[in-house]
Amino acid sequence: MNHLDHLESQSVYILREAYNRFERLGMLWSLGKDSNVMLWLARKAFLGRVPFPVVHLDTGKEFPETYAFRERYVQEWGLDLIGDACPPIELVDASLPPASRFAARKSLGLKQALARYRFDGIIAGIRRDEQATRAKERVFSPRGEDGAWDFKDQPPEFWDQYNVDFPPGTHVRIHPLLHWTEVDIWRYIAREEIPVVPLYFARNGKRFRSLGEEGITFPIDSEADTIDAIIAELENTRTAERAGRAMDHEAEDAFERLRTAGYM
C-alpha cells in the first residue's frame, strides 16, 4: 500500500464507522475539492452509492461555475441533495467582522439543517493542515446542542476507537479527511480522476486555491492550469492555503470564534 492507499483506507474506515454508529447522518458538500474527494471516498466505502443526504449550505453567493458543477454531479452521482438557503445575514452576530459574518451564515444554515433534518452525525471535510484551530480536532468531535465546540477539554481518541456515545442533544462532527494534506488531496484527485470546479485551474495568471463565496474569496497568482502543475506549485509554496479567505484574516481570533460557535 502506498501513501494514498493508506489515506483512502483510513477515510473509508471512518466513514463506515460513522454510517454504522449514527442513525441520521448527513454529509456537508461545499462543492470544493476536499468535499468532492470526501464524496468520492463515500462511494468507495459504500460501493458506488452515497447512502445519506449531502447538504449544501447555500448562501446564494457561490460562483456560477460552482452552481453548474452542483447541478451536473447531483444528477451524475445520484445524490440526495439538501440545498436549503442559509438564514439571512441580518440574523448573524453583528459583532463579527464582515467576511466572518458572511461565513457565520453557514453556521446558521447548519443549525437550521440540524434542527430540520434532526441529524445526529454530520460529516465535514476539514483537514488538520489547512487551518490552525482545525489542527486540534478529533475525528469524531462532539458538539453541544448549540453546536459549540469545547476544544480545551476534548475526550482522548486513539487506536481508531472513536467516541460514539453521546448524551442526548449532542451531535457529532465526523472528519474523514482530518489526516490528509492539501497536496494529498490533489494527488488523489489526479489518481482517481475526480472532477472539480474549473476555478481551481489558472486562467490569465490567477487561480483559486481555496474556494468560498464570491466577494470574500480571492484568487492567487498562479500559472498552474493542470493538476500536475498544481501539485508542483504546492510542493514549492510557503504560503498558507487559506490566504485567499478574507474571514481568516480579519481579526486574530475571528476563525476561532467562528469555530467555537459551530462553524466547520
Binding site: S9, N20, K44, A45, A132, F158
Partner: protein, 626 residues
C-alpha cells in the same frame, strides 16, 4: 492522468518526542528543523534580530514558541503536526512540544506514532516523567525508540557522564521491554550530533540523530501474520450481503475458508468488492475491504473473521494492563464499556490486582486506580470476548475503556481465563433424530418468532392468540413470555442493563431448544435494543424471525395493561422502556404488525399466514438480514 512520481512516495514516518518538560524537547525540534533545512527562509535571522532588539539571547526553542504565537494568532503552522525531511525520507512530528500537555493528549498523539525520540537531560538524568512517558510508549506498542541524552554542553561533553545516564536509561527500558535502537549524546542548543557530527565529542562514533531516525524501520506490514478481519458492518446489496471491515493483520484471499469468532460459523470468501478499483483477488493488512461469502451464514459487527487454523482466543475474563485517563478513579465493581476492534462489551472490574509504580516498576496492592496511573486489573464480561494477547498481536490485543460517553483508558491484554478451559469437559452429543425427520413428522419446520415492541403493544395477547390458532391447525407451538420467565428460570435477574441482556439471552437459548425440538417458539419480549435482538438472532441461527409489534407510545400508555406506564411516569420504575429508556425499532423486521391499524383477530390472522408460509415444509426457513 499520468501517475506522478509522488504516487510512489512513502508516507511520512510519524514520530513523537517525549520526555521531561525541561529536558529540551522544544530546543531539539527547533534545531532539528533548522539543521535539516525545514524552516521557512529567514525565520532564524528574524528571531535572532528580535532577540537582539529585546536584549535577550536567542534560544532554539524560540522557533517553537514562534510557531505557537502564530498558531494562537491563526496565521500559519500549528504545533500539533510539524513536517521535516531528511535525504532519506519525510517525517511528521505528532503533537510537537511547546505547549503544556495532558497525558490524554500525549496518548492521543503518540498512539499514532511509529517511532519515538525520548529526550533526557544529561545533567539531571531520568526523571519520574521520563519514566512515565517511556512506560506509556511501551503500553502504546511503540517499539522503535531513539534515546537522546541532551544538554551534553552542560556536562562538558563528558563521556563518563553520558555512559552513566545511558546505562541508567538502557536498564530501565530493558525492564519494560523496550530496546532502544540507539542512545546518543547531543547538544540540541549547539547542534551537536543532530544532523551534523559533533567536533566536541570525538569519542562518539555512533550515528547522529538524523542517521538514527533514517535507520528506523517503518512499521512492517502485518501481512504475514494470522488473518484478523474485524467485521465493521454488513450491507445488503440487492440479494447479497456484503461484509465490510479493515484487515488488522494477515491476508484475505478469494476462496479462503474463514471462521467468525465468537460463534464458529464458517464460509468461503466468494469475492472482494470495490468501486472504481481493479478486481481484487486478495487484500492485506491495513486495507478496508468489502467481501461476500459463498454461503448464507449470519455474521455481524463485533465478530472477527480468521482462518480456522489460526483462530483468536476467546474468554469472558481478561487480565489487562491499563492506563487510566479519567479524573474519577477506577475501582472494583465499576462498569465500563470495553471496545476491542469493532466489538463492544459491557464489563465489570472484577479486581484491581495492582498499581504499577513507574519509577521502581514495583507493583503495590491498591483498590483504586487514579488518573494517569498504570495498573493490572481483571475484567469480566457476560459474553465471550475474542482477542489476542498483546504480546502476540498488538492490533487485536488492545482495547479502550469508555464510561459516561467518554474514553477513560486504554489497555493491553496480558492474559485470560479461557472459555475453552471452562468448556473443556463438555462435548455436545449428537441427537439420534434429525431435524428433517422431526419436521417431516410434524408437517412443518421448527423456528422462533421473536415478537418485539413496547410494553402494551400487544405482544403477549397476539402470542397467545396465535398459539391457539396454530395449535388448532395441528402445529407444534409454544409461547415463551418474558414476564413468565422471570418467575422461574430468570428469577435471579434484576433490571440492570446486564441483567436485561442476560434475560434475553436465556430466552433465546430456551427458544432455540424448542425450535430444535421441532416447535414454533413464539417469544414475547420487549427486547428494546437492536444489539440484544441481534444476539438472540445469533443464538437461534436459522429460523429466527423478528416480528415488530407496533403501536405508538400514546396507544400503549392508554392501554397500560400492567400499569407500568403509570408507575414509570410516577418515577417508580427507573429506565422504563418508552418513558425513560429508549426503544430501538427493528430496521428490517421480517414482519411488522401494527396493532393500532389492526384489531386483535386481524393481527393474529396476519401472523398465522406468515407462520404457515415461512415454516412450511420444503423451504429453508428464510432469514432476514439487517
Amino acid at each position: 492522468m499520468s501517475q506522478s512520481g509522488s504516487e510512489r512516495r512513502q508516507p511520512p514516518l510519524p514520530i513523537v518526542i517525549v520526555g521531561h518538560v525541561d529536558h529540551g524537547k522544544s530546543t531539539l525540534v527547533g534545531r532539528l528543523l533548522h539543521d535539516t533545512g525545514s524552516l521557512p527562509e529567514g525565520k532564524v535571522e528574524e528571531l535572532k534580530a528580535q532577540s537582539d532588539r529585546r536584549g535577550t539571547t536567542f534560544e532554539w526553542s524560540f522557533v517553537m514558541d514562534a510557531f505557537q504565537v502564530e498558531r494562537d494568532q491563526g496565521i500559519t503552522l500549528d504545533t500539533t503536526r510539524i513536517w521535516f525531511k531528511t535525504a532519506a525520507r519525510d517525517y511528521v512530528i505528532i503533537d510537537a512540544p511547546g505547549h503544556k500537555q495532558f497525558l490524554k493528549n500525549m496518548v492521543t498523539g503518540a498512539a499514532n506514532a511509529d517511532a519515538a525520540i525520548l529526550v533526557i537531560d544529561a545533567a539531571e538524568g531520568l526523571s519520574e516523567q521520563t519514566r512515565r512517558h517511556a512506560y506509556l510508549l511501551h503500553l502504546l506498542g511503540i517499539a522503535e525508540v531513539v534515546v537522546v541524552i541532551n544538554k551534553m554542553d552542560l556536562v562538558s561533553y563528558d563521556h563518563g557522564r553520558f555512559d552513566a545516564v545511558a546505562e541508567d536509561a538502557r536498564h530501565y527500558l530493558k525492564r519494560i521491554g523496550i530496546v532502544p535502537s540507539v542512545i546518543l549524546p547531543v547538544s540540541a542548543r549547539e547542534g551537536d550530533n543532530l544532523s551534523n557530527r559533533s567536533r566536541t565529542m570525538p569519542w562518539w562514533t555512533g550515528p547522529v540523530l538524523v542517521e538514527a531516525l533514517d535507520a528506523v524501520q517503518a512499521r512492517p506490514a502485518a501481512d504475514d501474520r494470522p488473518l484478523r478481519l474485524p467485521i465493521q458492518d454488513v450491507y445488503r446489496e440487492d440479494e447479497k450481503r456484503v461484509f465490510v471491515g479493515r484487515i488488522e493483520t494477515g491476508r484475505l484471499r478469494v476462496g479462503d475458508i474463514i471462521e467468525f469468532s465468537p460463534g464458529g460459523r464458517r464460509a468461503g470468501v466468494a469475492s472482494i468488492e470495490g468501486w472504481n478499483t481493479p478486481t481484487m483477488l486478495s487484500a492485506g493488512a491495513g486495507q478496508s475491504v468489502a467481501f461476500t461469502l459463498d454461503d448464507d451464514v449470519f455474521a455481524e459487527r463485533g465478530q472477527v473473521a480468521s482462518h480456522p487454523e489460526h483462530l483468536p482466543r476467546e474468554a469472558r475474563q481478561l487480565q489487562v494492563r491499563l492506563f487510566w485517563l479519567d479524573r474519577a478513579p477506577l475501582k472494583e465493581g465499576d462498569r465500563l464499556d470495553l471496545r476491542l476492534a469493532t466489538a463492544s462489551h459491557p464489563v465489570t472490574v472484577e479486581a484491581v490486582r495492582s498499581v504499577i509504580d513507574v519509577e521502581s516498576l514495583e507493583r503495590r496492592e491498591a483498590e483504586t486506580v487514579q488518573v494517569n496511573e498504570v495498573a493490572e486489573i481483571l475484567l469480566r464480561s457476560p459474553t465471550p470476548i475474542w482477542f489476542d494477547r498483546a504480546a502476540d498481536s498488538l492490533a487485536t490485543g488492545r482495547a479502550v475503556l469508555a464510561r459516561d460517553y467518554r474514553l477513560v483508558g486504554g489497555c493491553i491484554v496480558t492474559g485470560e481465563q479461557s472459555v475453552a478451559a471452562t468448556r473443556a469437559n463438555i462435548t455436545p452429543v449428537a441427537q439420534s433424530v434429525t431435524r428433517e425427520e422431526v419436521a417431516a413428522a410434524n408437517g412443518h419446520l421448527g423456528g422462533v418468532l421473536w415478537l418485539t415492541g413496547l410494553s402494551g403493544a400487544g405482544k403477549s395477547t397476539l402470542a397467545m392468540g396465535l398459539r391457539r390458532r396454530l395449535f388448532e391447525r395441528g402445529r407444534q407451538v409454544f409461547v415463551i413470555d418474558g414476564d413468565n420467565l422471570r418467575h422461574g428460570l430468570n428469577s435471579d435477574l434484576g433490571f440492570t442493563p446486564e441483567d436485561r441482556a442476560e434475560n434475553i439471552r436465556r430466552a433465546a437459548e430456551v427458544a432455540r431448544l424448542f425450535a430444535d425440538a421441532g416447535a414454533v417458539a413464539i417469544v414475547a419480549l420487549i427486547s428494546p435494543t437492536r444489539a440484544d435482538r441481534d444476539h438472540a438472532r445469533r443464538i437461534v441461527g436459522d429460523g429466527f424471525q423478528e416480528i415488530f409489534v407496533r403501536a405508538s407510545l400514546e396507544a400503549c400508555e392508554g392501554r397500560d395493561p400492567k400499569g407500568l406506564y403509570a408507575k414509570a411516569r410516577a418515577g417508580k420504575i427507573p429506565e422504563s422502556t418508552g418513558v425513560s429508556a429508549p426503544y430501538e425499532e427493528p430496521d428490517t423486521p421480517a414482519l411488522t404488525v401494527d396493532t393500532e391499524a389492526y384489531g386483535r383477530d386481524k393481527a393474529v390472522d396476519v401472523l398465522f399466514e406468515f407462520v404457515e408460509r415461512r415454516f412450511a415444509l420444503g423451504r429453508a426457513a428464510g432469514r432476514t438480514v439487517r
